[in-house]
Structure formats: structure tokens, C-alpha cells
């Protein structure tokens, strides 16, 4: 078998067809290799990959609770250090585990400077419990706890800027990546693993079930997020942005209209005011990170 087929993340798991998180897991393990210990938070990834007595993980793997993967990883790094072992430690969690309930443990572990990599597969809501809003849910997305309705256009708050928060902890390497560009994702995971100290990689992982699109469109949606400027793929080294993926930007509408979670912005009638607000978020991202490629007219 080729390297890609002979993954450390076994194909026999129970993720939905078109699951970006599963794709991310495989890419992460491709990059990390066998000398890696994975600490999984409770969530989709944990549930679809480890129904007892089966496991999809061909590397050492542990799941304890929803909110403590960073703290468990702290203990593992300490034990490895004491035992003189060289394995790498990756804590893995969805956005609920990372942005919300596990924030205390995450902040503590980053402040203490443990040598580990935290990878968040960000599907922008609590998918395992049925698509509830999280601190990573984007503005206006309709979820089961931020439903669009007669007097609501969905989630009222913009996404929490977790990469900046973790960079402010003094993390030497913080990056965002997406399943749309797997070689880039792998490169970033490798770089994080090769950097001493706590590093963070946030992987944009569209969820066909939660966002409302057909499974075969996962990569297309992921690409559109980048191309519209709603998701920015970048690297920060010691708090400074050192690399950004530039794009010829498309209007946000092209991304929004493909997903059920934004359907209320187009039906029963088009909500120009709200679409404009989301466009402003993309414009802000573009300005902040300088992602625009301006084609000569």
C-alpha cells in the first residue's frame, strides 16, 4: 500500500461521508508519524473513532473528558520528560472543547509552556450533540441553539479569536489551516511538532451534517471559506504573523448560499443588510491579514 492508504488513522471508523474532521485526523497523523501520543477530547472525533472494543487509532491514544485534554496532555508531557521518552504529544479537540469548555485547561497548559501541540478541528458548533452554537460559530449561522427565526438572524456574535488569545500566551507557533489544502495542513502540523513549547493549529473543518451541504462538497466549501476571506489561513511565530495565504477574493455570498445554516439570509427573501455585515467581516479579515491579490485590470 502507499503511504496515504496505509494511514495511522484506520479507515474503518464511523464518521459521516464527507467528514472534514476525519480527513484532518488522517492528515495530522500522516504528518506526525507513529511516535505520537494523541489526547482526544470528547466529541465527534472521539465517538466516531473509538466505539469499544474498536479503535481507528494506530498510535497511542487516550480520551478522558470533554474539557481536560490540555491538562491530560500536560501530565503526559511531564511523565515523558521524567521517563526520558521522546514521543510527541498532540491534544485534539473540536471547537466546543477548545474555544469553550476546555479554555481553562488550554490556557493553563499554554501559560505553563508544556511541549505539546494542540490541534482544534473547528467545525464551528457542537456537532456531536446536534449542532448547538459554540464560541467558534460564525456570525449569523443558524444552529439549534441560535436558530434563525422571525426575530433572529442566527448567531449574534462573531467567532472568538482563539489563535490571537493563544499567541498572547507566548505560544511560539500558532497557525490556522484547512482541509482544503492538506499539504499545507501537514506542513503546519510538522512545524508545530518541531517547535519547542506549546503550539496551536486550528483546522477549519466544514461539517456537511451541521452546516447543511452534500458530503461531496466538503472540500469545495472549505476552499470557498478561504476564497471569500471568511477563513484566513496563516502562521504566527512568536506573536507575529509570518505567512498568509493570499487569494483573489470572491463575494461571501458564494460561500453562504451553499449552506443550510445561512439559508435564512436568502429565503424567503434576501437579507442584504445581514449579508453586508458578513461581507464586512471578510473585508476586515482581508485588511487585517493582507490576503488580497489585486489582479491588474
Amino acid at each position: 500500500m502507499t503511504g496515504e492508504q496505509c494511514s495511522l488513522f484506520d479507515p474503518g471508523h464511523r464518521a459521516c461521508g464527507g467528514c472534514a474532521a476525519a480527513l484532518a485526523a488522517r492528515a495530522v497523523l500522516d504528518a506526525a508519524g507513529p511516535d505520537t501520543i494523541i489526547v482526544s477530547a470528547t466529541g465527534c472525533m472521539e465517538v466516531f473513532s473509538t466505539p469499544y472494543p474498536e479503535t481507528a487509532w494506530k498510535v497511542p491514544w487516550i480520551h478522558s473528558l470533554f474539557e481536560n485534554n490540555s491538562a491530560v496532555a500536560s501530565g503526559i508531557t511531564a511523565a515523558l520528560k521524567k521517563q526520558g521518552r521522546k514521543e510527541k504529544v498532540i491534544a485534539l479537540g473540536g471547537d466546543g472543547a477548545t474555544f469553550d469548555i476546555g479554555m481553562l485547561c488550554l490556557s493553563g497548559a499554554f501559560e505553563r509552556g508544556h511541549d505539546f501541540v494542540y490541534i482544534c478541528y473547528d467545525n464551528e458548533a457542537y456537532m456531536n450533540t446536534g449542532i448547538q452554537r459554540s464560541g467558534a460559530t460564525p456570525y449569523d449561522a443558524s444552529t439549534t441553539t441560535s436558530p434563525a427565526g422571525k426575530c433572529s438572524t442566527g448567531n449574534r456574535r462573531p467567532k472568538k479569536d482563539l489563535p490571537a488569545i493563544l499567541a498572547a500566551h507566548g505560544a511560539p507557533y500558532v497557525a490556522t489551516a484547512t482541509v482544503a489544502y492538506l499539504p499545507d495542513l501537514k506542513k503546519k502540523v510538522k512545524k508545530a511538532l518541531d517547535t519547542e513549547g506549546p503550539c496551536y493549529v486550528q483546522v477549519h473543518a466544514p461539517c456537511c451534517t451541521g452546516w447543511g451541504f452534500e458530503g461531496e462538497k466538503t472540500l469545495a466549501i472549505a476552499r470557498l471559506a478561504v476564497e471569500t476571506g471568511l477563513f484566513v489561513s496563516f502562521e504566527m511565530e512568536n506573536g507575529v504573523v509570518t505567512r498568509v495565504k493570499k487569494v483573489v477574493r470572491k463575494p461571501v455570498e458564494e460561500y453562504l448560499k451553499e449552506q443550510r445554516r445561512f439559508r435564512h439570509l436568502f429565503r424567503p427573501k434576501r437579507n442584504d443588510a445581514e449579508i453586508a455585515k458578513i461581507q464586512a467581516i471578510a473585508d476586515g479579515n482581508a485588511q487585517k491579514f493582507g490576503i488580497d491579490i489585486n489582479l491588474k485590470k
Binding site: P51, W61, I62, S64, L65, G75, A78
Partner: protein, 385 residues
């Protein structure tokens, strides 16, 4: 060598000699002296351990869980609110069968806020799958740590353990303590050798989710291990006695129980006062004895049944209350003595650090003999209004 030591420091030295590889702890009164002493030992190289200064008790136990899963012997200490914050991790640690040992410096739970002693904190974790040892004095508090590691790590058990000592009453009190030497501890407690650990040479998955087809069997295995631990505790306690002269082979201690008509049942430091009161009552011709519980989990039901079979009344001193029911110890004693017909009377006592003197014990015995019980002892009428 006999030394006059603060309880916390005696415990810290005992822990040091158990050679934990990873310590994770968070400050909380009255536990702090233990973890401060350990931090000092690490700073001065008298303890070669990784010391993680976590941001919460929740992370303290989570870090211990991770380090234990990676194959290291670990230690933490906490109390009261800190233990309450660990609630979720406590169940998880036991479920993952990780032999973490943690000192609980017993303290009341808020509200109202109280830093003083009772045993509500650890007793409230009775269903979590942790062994629970209760020390009467600082000698026992230190010795129980060696025993707890040996029992918890025994392949027949593989469950975590609390070593409970009453806050301030033991933790902040100077008493003579016979400390073992490092050689003695090494000869009693072998290095931790995990059955399995996180290791890339032999990758395993730990902490999978179990469907209804599997979950009950996991819980059954835990219960079986907890029950089996009784025998392991007896063996470890006996061996300790053979090697160092202090025998801990019984899960309970009987004090002047031979011809006792009234038996007091209690656990922890209150038993010192109880023993003194019993000596005085015996001098007055009253046939009173004490059955001291050393391990609340596993619960020594058989020992209890045997020791209490001849008494005419039992007075249980509970430093905890299962609100709307009884004290937790009394409930267990009633279960153990079910069908015996012996009256078992419960006294909720010394909550939130209220002092207990010999006269109080005598008063309880008097009430028990008269069949009066199942009450909060020593309530202040003027506070209740």
C-alpha cells in the same frame, strides 16, 4: 526515627519517599502545606519529580491522570471545593483504572464557606471508585500513603486512592511521627510497573466509549476490584506491620470492644477523643467501646457485623450529612447490621470545624443508651432562633 513534625510535612515526606514521578497540585486551605513542602523538595533536589503548578484542581487531577496513563507514579492533594471541582475527573480516573494516590485534607463544603474540618468532601465521593483511607493521627496519615500506593497499584486492584486526614486537626498539628527511611520505603513499595501505558512501541487506545452492550461490565469489574481490595489491604497492612511494627491488617480498629454494650463507630481524628472518653467512661464502669473505620471504601461490612454482633446499641458519629437522609456512615452501618435488631443511632457532629470534647462523646453515649439519636448533636439554639 521519631520526629516532631507538622502533619502536612510528615505526609509530604512520606510522599517524597514513595518516589512520585509527577506531582500536580493547586493551592487550597488546609492542604497547602503538603504541596508547598513538596515544591520545596523539588526545588532543593531532594525529590526528583516533575511538579506541575496547574491552574485549577480540575487540571491537577487531569494532569495526574495523563501522567499515570503514560506510566508514571503520580501524586496530588486537595480538599473540599477543590475535590468538588475534581468530581468529574475522580470518576474518570477510577474508570480508567489508574492508581492515582491523593491526600484529602478533609474540610467542609460551602455554602456557607468554611475552611474548617468535617468529612463531607471525601464522603461525597464515596461512589466514585476511589479507595478511601481515614487516618486517626499523623503517624497513620503518613503510613497510609505507603500502603495506599501499594494497594492501588496492585494488579488485583488498579483503582485510585484517597488518604484522608482531618484538616487542621491533623494537617496543622505537630505530633511525634516515626518516619521510615528511604531504604525501608523502597523495600516495601516497589517501583510502579503499569499493566499498560501510552507507548508508541505498543500503541493502545484508552478511554473508549462503551455502548449499553459493554458499559455494565466495566462497572462490574470496578466493583469486583474494589471488593477484592479488602484482601489486598489486609495483606499490605500486615506486611507493613511485619516490616515496621505498626500493623494495619484490619480495615477497622476495635478499641475496648471486648465486652462493650455500647459501641461508637467513627472515622478520622475524632477517634482520639473518643478513646480518651471511653477510658474515662470505662473507669466509671460503663461498658463502651469504639469501632474505628479505617477504610470507608471498600466498606468493611463483614468486619462491622462481626465486631458489633454483641452490643446493645451503636452510636455512629458522622462528620457529614446526606441531607434529607442520614449521615453516610450510619447508612452503611445499618446496611451491614441489617436484620440484627441492634439499634443504630446516628449523630451528625462536628460539621464545619465545631469542636468535640470528651464530654460530648459521653453525652452521645448517654443518649444512645437511652435510645435517643438520629439528630444533629450540639446545635446552638440561639443561632437557630
Amino acid at each position: 526515627m521519631m520526629e516532631i513534625m507538622e502533619g502536612s510535612h510528615a505526609v509530604a515526606h512520606a510522599v517524597r519517599m514513595c518516589r512520585p514521578e509527577v506531582i500536580a497540585a493547586y493551592p487550597i486551605t488546609p492542604q497547602t502545606h503538603i504541596v508547598e513542602a513538596l515544591a520545596e523538595m523539588v526545588a532543593n533536589c531532594s525529590l526528583d519529580a516533575e511538579y506541575i503548578t496547574v491552574e485549577s484542581e480540575f487540571s491537577a487531577l487531569s494532569a495526574c491522570l495523563g501522567a499515570s496513563a503514560a506510566g508514571s507514579r503520580v501524586y496530588s492533594a486537595t480538599t473540599s471545593q477543590g475535590l468538588a471541582l475534581m468530581f468529574e475527573v475522580c470518576f474518570n480516573t477510577a474508570g480508567l483504572r489508574l492508581p492515582v494516590v491523593m491526600s484529602i485534607v478533609n474540610r467542609a463544603l460551602g455554602a456557607p464557606l468554611s475552611i474548617w474540618n468535617d468529612q463531607q468532601d471525601s464522603v461525597s465521593l464515596r461512589d466514585s471508585g476511589w479507595l478511601q483511607f481515614y487516618a486517626e493521627d499523623n503517624q497513620e496519615a503518613t503510613d497510609l500513603h505507603y500502603i495506599a500506593y501499594r494497594v492501588a497499584e496492585d494488579k488485583r486492584v488498579l483503582l485510585p486512592a484517597f488518604v484522608c486526614l482531618d484538616g487542621f486537626i491533623l494537617s496543622h498539628t505537630y505530633e511525634p511521627v516515626e518516619m521510615l527511611t528511604q531504604e525501608q520505603v523502597d523495600s516495601y513499595l516497589p517501583p510502579y510497573s503499569p499493566v499498560q501505558r501510552l507507548d508508541s512501541k505498543d500503541p493502545i487506545s484508552i478511554g473508549l466509549f462503551a455502548s449499553p452492550d459493554y458499559y455494565m461490565e466495566f462497572r462490574y469489574e470496578m466493583d469486583r476490584a474494589m471488593k477484592a481490595s479488602s484482601q489486598v489491604i489486609r495483606e499490605a497492612g500486615r506486611r507493613f506491620g511485619e516490616m515496621f511494627g505498626r500493623d494495619y491488617s484490619n480495615l477497622v480498629e476495635e478499641y475496648r470492644m471486648d465486652d462493650a454494650e455500647c459501641a461508637i463507630v467513627a472515622m478520622g481524628s475524632i477517634c482520639g477523643t473518643v478513646k480518651d472518653a471511653i477510658d474515662e467512661m470505662r473507669g466509671d464502669g460503663q461498658k463502651v467501646g469504639l469501632l474505628r473505620i479505617r477504610t470507608f471504601r471498600p466498606f468493611p461490612g463483614e468486619e462491622m457485623k462481626k465486631a458489633l454482633s454483641g452490643v446493645s446499641s451503636v452510636a455512629v458519629l458522622d462528620k457529614n450529612i446526606s441531607l434529607g437522609a442520614k449521615g453516610a456512615v450510619a447508612l452503611e452501618v445499618r446496611d451491614a447490621l441489617y436484620g440484627s435488631g441492634i439499634p443504630i443511632l446516628d449523630y451528625i457532629i462536628a460539621l464545619g470545624g465545631r469542636d468535640v470534647a470528651k464530654k460530648d462523646i459521653k453525652s452521645v453515649v448517654k443518649m444512645a443508651m437511652a435510645g435517643k439519636g438520629d439528630l444533629f448533636y450540639g446545635l446552638r439554639g440561639e443561632v437557630l432562633g
